[in-house]
Amino acid sequence: MENENSKNPTRRKFLKNLSSGSALAVSGLAYFSVTSCKQASDEKTTLLTTDGKLVQVPNSEIADLNHQHLPATPEESRIGIPGKKFVMVVDLAKCKNAKKCIEACDHTHNLTPDRPYIKVLEMQDNEKSSPYWMPKKCFQCDNPPCVKVCPVGATYKRTDGIVLVDNERCIGCRFCMAACPYSARVFNWGKPPGEDESIPYSPETSLPSQIGTVGKCDFCPDMLRNNKLPHCITACPNGVIYFGDEIDDTVTNGEETVRLSTLLKEKAGYRYMEELGTEPRVYYLPPVDRLFPFEETTQENSES
């Protein structure tokens, strides 16, 4: 008995020393790795994004919760963000129907799969050309048929180009849905499930959704007010969607920033059904010079 006890202290002490020494070494290593960073101030925090990815974000970009503003009230949201006119460009050559934009948008706006704001459609211009995937959201038209027909002004066009819906004024007549030639709007036929009724309603977040009212892609104005890109752009793994300001003449897809006019000129940007005269604010780049052939979504390659 006594022998064991006398042996154990030694082993225990050895292990203790080993572990403390390793801890010292590891912390020393960690200290050096931290201090040898290129810039002094880039402390990073690990965060979970809306689509479940773990990313490292510099602390300087995380806003203090206490300083965050509530999203705009319905009256405030009728006035656009000053000095901007937002525009979107979708590169059809890159879209692979990954549906990450749909997931991010559905998650942010608390949508069920039967009322998505973004739809990715399989289009084929004629029999001989190749099919392609076309992400379609509200085009935020400059000559919007939906705004023209709303009897109570529940949907309105702002000076920054965005068309929003005020669900506290909508009477549910669905004339805007009949008038939109692009089928961009969805309706809350029943009570939207899982809505947090305690938060104040804001047309800029389109939350909380209300029964008997209409909804559509809103270009995420709550993000835009903080100079952040809408969720679909950051969620896209293939860099399909470019977003920016027409006044700036610049669009970005999160990684690449280009001049809008150059992009549209060089890649022959067009607007869907331009002849209808609605003047959409979303441009498409034709699916040419594709790096991969068109693939139907099958069980294997479906990522949802």
Partner: protein, 446 residues
């Protein structure tokens, strides 16, 4: 007071007895009819309660077919309501004296139809609790606001039209009917506004009649044209047509004429008014129906020939579906059974007898209702962008029992209002004519 007894009521003439006795007696038939209508209304209320509680999800409308039979029913009711102007304005101004007995029925139907149209459109709203926003937050640029304005205007004008022609007859009821309950006596007294056949009153009434007869016509044309603009201002195949205004208005007159024929038949039968609604009336109504149907046929041909010739994109798909596709049986029933066949049959006099023409008119009205269904729903199933990735049920529209219950109860409301108005007021105008008029009604005064 004692129970009204028809035996005690003194009528001076047979005419008076014929036209006024139904105001006093209440037959069992009448009570059964009212009970039937109330049952339908009750079913509709149950359906509407469910709709208020769970939202419009209880209907079959979904994101693509976002308008359904409520809207097509609305268009149908607005169409029917034009018949008031047909008789009180067009035929009257053209001195069609044979149509005089039918003006009261047509005005009653017009008022009832426009009330039901307003009600059904509120039923279709997703947020009926916000109905007053169309007044407080209205946007004058919206076709729906134009429709709201014109429907309220037409409702007021139709009520005025009915009332103006009814005024001397109410005074008559007030003066002559004794065996009626006190509340009815009070009703007649108040609504007769002190009418006592004073020459000044008669002159003023004439003036008002003339003004109304002229002003109701543009309003009637406007109401159905503006309703057609709810569709013509959108980009949907079948709706994006310059022809839609005249197409709707001509269809409205035709459907209204057929409704009058049905009403004529049943009123004649149940109130025993064969001397006043004669075979000649059925004959002439048949001819009028042929004329109106020919105009409607002309606009129909115009509406479908252009798109069918070109077969452009979704417009082509829509035409295909109507002509040979999913909706072909309904489409050809409507066009042939509800339009072409009646025209052909009504050319022949034997078909213009009461019973045959009743059956033909029923087909015409059924065809008219289904035609509005075909105007509203198939166009919504062919948007420019393909319908993908949605539930199978989005591609078809099969109205649920709640929608049918509400629709049938709206018809019940229409019939209920008509029945009550007929019960309260004389349904054939008791008026006089100058000597030498075409149809000689005895210058009997009651």
């Amino acid at each position: 007071m004692s129970k009204p007894n028809i035996e005690l009521q003194k009528f001076r003439t047979k005419r008076g007895k014929r036209l006024l006795s139904h105001l006093i007696t209440t037959s069992l038939q009448y009570k059964l009819w009212i009970a039937f209508l109330l049952i339908l209304i009750l079913l509709g209320l149950i359906g509407y309660y469910r709709q208020l509680r769970y939202g419009l999800v209880v209907t079959a409308m979904r994101d693509y077919t976002s308008w359904g039979i409520y809207i097509s029913n609305f268009v149908f009711f607005v169409a029917i309501s034009l018949v008031g102007s047909l008789f009180s304005s067009i035929l009257k101004l053209n001195k069609n004296l044979w149509a005089r007995p039918l003006t009261r029925i047509s005005e009653i139907i017009a008022v009832a139809a426009i009330i039901c149209a307003a009600v059904i459109i509120i039923v279709d709203m997703g947020r009926p609790d916000r109905i007053f926003y169309v007044i407080t937050h209205l946007r004058i640029q919206s076709p729906i606001i134009w429709d709201v304005i014109i429907i309220s205007t037409y409702l007021v004008i139709s009520i005025l039209l009915l009332y103006i022609s009814l005024l001397p007859d109410i005074a008559l009821c007030r003066d002559r009917l004794t065996q009626i309950p006190n509340w009815k006596k009070a009703l007649y007294r108040i609504t007769a506004i002190n009418w006592h056949n004073h020459p000044k009153q008669i002159a003023m009434l004439q003036k008002v009649n003339k003004i109304l007869a002229i002003s109701v016509l543009p309003v009637a044309f406007a109401i159905h044209t503006i309703t057609s603009w709810l569709f013509a201002t959108t980009w949907r195949p079948g709706w994006d047509s310059t022809n839609l205004g005249p197409y709707f208005v001509s269809g409205a007159f035709m459907a209204g004429a057929a409704v009058i024929i049905i009403a004529m038949y049943f009123i004649r039968k149940h109130l025993k008014l064969s001397k006043y609604i004669t075979l000649s009336h059925f004959d002439r109504m048949g001819k009028l129906l042929v004329l109106l149907s020919l105009v409607y046929l002309y606009f129909n041909i115009n509406e479908y020939l252009g798109p069918a010739f070109k077969m452009v994109g979704v417009e082509g798909e829509h035409i295909t579906e109507l002509f040979v596709g999913k909706y072909a049986p309904m489409y050809w029933f409507v066009q042939l059974g509800g339009l072409v066949l009646p025209i052909i049959l009504l050319f022949f006099k034997p078909f213009r007898k009461p019973l045959p023409i009743l059956i033909i008119a029923i087909f015409v009205v059924l065809g008219a209702w289904l035609k509005r269904f075909l105007i509203v729903i198939p166009s919504l199933q062919h948007p420019y962008l393909p319908i993908q990735g949605v539930d199978e049920s989005y591609l078809h529209y099969n109205p649920t029992w709640e929608e049918w219950a509400i629709t049938f109860s709206s018809f019940a409301w229409l019939l209920l209002i008509i029945t009550v108005l007929i019960k309260l007021f004389p349904v054939i105008p008791i008026k006089k004519y100058k000597q030498g008029s075409e149809t000689v009604f005895k210058q009997n005064i009651f």
